[in-house]
C-alpha cells in the first residue's frame, strides 16, 4: 500500500498542512482577540478595582503584545496544552478529549447513513434520467438540503423517542464503555444529521453517473452485448468513485459543523455543547481549542482523501 510515491504525497501534504494550521489558528486567535470587550474586566467581575483587573491581565498574560500571546498559545497547543477554561478552570484539552468521541461517533454514523441511502437513490435516479423516479429522488434531495437538521432532530425525538419510545431522547454513552448503547444513543442524531448529506450524495452520484453512462465508451460496451447491470457496476460506478470521494470529504466537514446544533437537541455532551457554552460565557480558550481541533480534523480528512485519490485513480501522482 505505502509505495514511495504515496509516501511522497503524504510528506508533501503534511508540509502543506503546517502553514494552514498556523494560518487558521492565527485567524481565529486574531478574530477572537480583536473583538471589542475586555476579557479581564469580565473575569474580574463587578465592582473590581483597577489593581485587580491589572493583576488578572498579568495572570492570564493579557498584558503582553498580541503576537507574543499568539506565539505562546501556539507553542503550548503544539505540545498538547490548550490552556484552561476561564469558566470551569478545567484543562481545555481534557474537555475536548472527553467530548470529541461523542461528536465523532455521530458524524461517522451520519456519513454511513448518507452513503447507505444516498448511493442507491442516486443509482435509481440515474438509471432513467428525467423519469418519474428521478424526479422523486431530486425532490427528496431538495428537501433534504433545505430542512434544518435540528428541526428534523426534534421531529425524530417527538416521534421515535417520546411517542413510540424506541430510542433514548437525550444523552450519550461513551463508545468505549458500552458500544451497543453508544450506537443506540447516536442513532437518531446521526439520522437527523444525514439528511443534507444523503441529498448531496444522491445528487452528485446521479449527475456523474448520467454523464458517464451517456459517454461513447459505454455505448461501445452496450454494442458488445454487456448487460446494463454489469456496465453500471464495472464501468459506471468505478468512474464516479472519485467524485463520490470528493463529496464525502466536503460532507464530513459540513457535518462536523452541523452536528453542533443537533447535539444541542439531544443534550449530547460533545464539541457542540463545548463551543456553545464557550460562546455564551465568552470562554475564549475553549472556543479557540475547539476550533483548533476541528481544523486539525478537517486537515486530516483532506489528507486521507488525497491518499485515497491516488488509490482510486492511478493517474494522480
Amino acid at each position: 500500500m505505502l509505495t514511495a510515491s504515496r509516501l511522497r504525497v503524504i510528506r508533501r501534504r503534511l508540509l502543506h498542512a503546517v502553514p494552514v494550521v498556523v494560518l487558521a489558528t492565527f485567524i481565529v486567535f486574531g478574530i477572537l482577540k480583536l473583538m471589542p470587550g475586555d476579557i479581564a474586566i469580565t473575569l474580574a467581575g463587578e465592582n473590581a478595582t483597577e489593581e485587580r483587573i491589572a493583576e488578572i491581565r498579568q495572570i492570564y498574560g493579557l498584558d503582553r503584545p498580541f503576537l507574543v500571546q499568539y506565539g505562546s498559545w501556539l507553542w503550548n497547543a503544539v505540545q498538547g496544552d490548550l490552556s484552561r477554561s476561564l469558566a470551569s478552570g478545567e484543562e481545555v484539552a481534557v474537555q475536548i478529549a472527553r467530548s470529541f468521541p461523542n461528536t465523532l461517533l455521530i458524524v461517522v454514523m451520519a456519513m454511513g447513513f448518507a452513503l447507505l441511502f444516498g448511493i442507491p437513490l442516486g443509482i435509481l435516479a440515474a438509471s432513467r434520467p428525467h423519469g418519474i423516479v428521478d424526479r422523486v429522488v431530486t425532490s427528496i434531495g431538495s428537501l433534504g438540503i433545505a430542512v434544518p437538521n435540528f428541526w428534523l432532530a426534534m421531529i425524530l425525538v417527538a416521534w421515535f423517542s417520546l411517542e413510540f419510545g424506541w430510542f433514548p431522547a437525550t444523552g450519550a454513552v461513551p463508545l468505549a464503555q458500552d458500544p451497543a448503547q453508544a450506537i443506540w444513543h447516536a442513532f437518531l442524531p446521526a439520522l437527523a444529521l444525514a439528511s443534507g448529506g444523503l441529498s448531496e450524495v444522491s445528487r452528485q452520484l446521479r449527475s456523474s453517473l448520467v454523464e458517464v453512462m451517456s459517454s461513447p465508451q459505454v455505448r461501445t460496451l452496450h454494442a458488445k452485448g454487456l448487460t446494463p447491470a454489469s456496465i453500471l457496476w464495472k464501468h459506471g460506478l468505478k468512474n464516479v468513485s472519485v467524485n463520490l470521494l470528493t463529496v464525502c470529504s466536503l460532507l464530513f466537514n459540513r457535518m462536523l459543523a452541523a452536528t453542533v446544533v443537533v447535539e444541542a437537541v439531544f443534550a449530547i455532551p460533545g464539541m457542540g455543547s463545548l463551543i456553545v457554552n464557550a460562546a455564551l460565557f465568552r470562554d475564549l480558550p475553549v472556543a479557540q481549542g475547539v476550533v483548533f481541533v476541528m481544523v486539525l480534523v478537517v486537515i486530516t480528512v483532506n489528507l486521507v482523501t488525497d491518499l485515497l485519490y491516488t488509490v482510486l485513480d492511478p493517474r494522480i501522482r
Binding site: 478574530i31 428537501l143 435540528f150 428541526w151 453542533v260 464539541m271 465568552r282
Partner: protein
C-alpha cells in the same frame, strides 16, 4: 431586460413559484402589524399551549402568545437577519475578491491562501466562536455569519476578475487613461454581477438556516422578539407536552430555504450557459 426576465419565469415554473413565494413572504413581513390577529409578545396565561382553534388559528405557545402572529412577525425579522448576514458577506467578499483577482502577484497569493483556509473551517462553528467574541444577539450573530460566508463570494469574484482582467476592452480602457478604480468599477465589477447574484441567492438560504440554528442555541435573537429559530427553541422546551408547536416555524424555515435554493439553482442554470443537465 424585464421582458427577458418575465419570459424566463414563464418557462421555469419552479423559479416562478419560488419567486412568488418569496415576494409573498416579503409582503406578509411588511404587513404583519396589520394582518396578525394578535400582538406577537402579548402573553395570555389563561391560554397556555392551546391547540389550534377559534381566535388562535395555530394555537398558542407556552407563554400564551399567538403562534400565527409570532410566525407573521417573525417573517420580517428572519428575512432581515438573512439579508444582513449576506449583506456583510457581500461587503467583505466582493472587494477582497476584486483586489485579489486584479492585483495578482503576492497579494493574490496571500488572500487566496486565507480564503482557502477559511473555507476549510466548519462554518457554523466559526460563526459561533465569533458570536461569542462579539457578544450574543441577533445583529452580532448575523455579522459573524456574514464574515464566515464572505470567503465564498471572494473566491467567485476573484475567479471572474482573473478572466475579465485579460479582456481586450479592459486593455483598451487602460490605454485611454482609465484609472484602476474606474476599470474595476465600470468594467470588472459589472462582469462579476451574475455569478454573485446566483451565490447570494444560495447564501440567503444558508443564512436563514444559520439564523435559525444560532437563535435555537440562544446566541441569536433574544426574547421576547419572535424569529422562526427562536420559536423552535421555545417549542423545544415544551416538546413533551405539545409536540405540534414545532411544526409551523419549522415548515416556514423549510419552505423559505427551499424557495431560495430553487431560485438560486434556476438562476445558475439560466445565467451559466455551460451548465446543462
Amino acid at each position: 431586460m424585464l421582458s427577458r426576465f418575465l419570459r424566463w419565469l414563464a418557462r421555469d415554473l419552479q423559479a416562478a413559484l419560488s419567486l412568488g413565494f418569496l415576494l409573498l413572504l416579503v409582503v406578509v413581513a411588511l404587513a404583519a402589524p396589520w394582518i396578525a390577529p394578535h400582538s406577537p409578545i402579548e402573553q395570555n396565561f389563561d391560554m397556555i399551549l392551546a391547540p389550534a382553534g377559534p381566535g388562535h388559528p395555530l394555537g398558542t405557545d407556552d407563554l400564551g402568545r399567538d403562534i400565527l402572529s409570532r410566525l407573521l412577525h417573525g417573517a420580517g425579522i428572519t428575512l432581515y437577519a438573512s439579508f444582513l448576514a449576506v449583506g456583510v458577506a457581500v461587503l467583505i467578499g466582493v472587494p477582497v475578491g476584486l483586489l485579489a483577482g486584479y492585483a495578482g502577484g503576492w497579494v493574490d497569493d496571500v488572500i487566496s491562501r486565507i480564503i482557502d483556509t477559511l473555507l476549510s473551517f466548519p462554518a457554523i462553528v466559526l460563526a459561533i466562536a465569533v458570536t461569542g467574541a462579539l457578544g450574543i444577539g441577533m445583529t452580532n450573530a448575523m455579522i459573524s455569519v456574514g464574515i464566515v460566508f464572505s470567503p465564498q463570494l471572494a473566491r467567485i469574484v476573484r475567479a471572474r476578475t482573473l478572466v475579465v482582467r485579460q479582456e481586450l476592452y479592459v486593455d483598451a480602457a487602460r490605454c485611454f487613461g482609465a484609472g484602476t478604480g474606474r476599470i474595476l468599477w465600470r468594467h470588472v465589477l459589472p462582469n462579476t454581477v451574475q455569478p454573485v447574484i446566483v451565490q447570494v441567492t444560495l447564501l440567503l438560504a444558508a443564512a436563514l438556516l444559520a439564523e435559525a440554528s444560532l437563535s435555537f442555541l440562544g446566541l441569536g435573537i433574544q426574547p421576547p422578539d419572535p424569529s422562526w429559530g427562536a420559536m423552535l427553541a421555545r417549542a423545544y422546551q415544551s416538546m413533551e407536552i405539545a409536540p405540534e408547536q414545532m411544526y409551523p416555524p419549522g415548515l416556514a424555515i423549510l419552505l423559505t430555504a427551499l424557495a431560495f435554493n430553487t431560485l438560486g439553482e434556476s438562476l445558475r442554470a439560466a445565467l451559466d450557459p455551460t451548465m446543462k443537465t
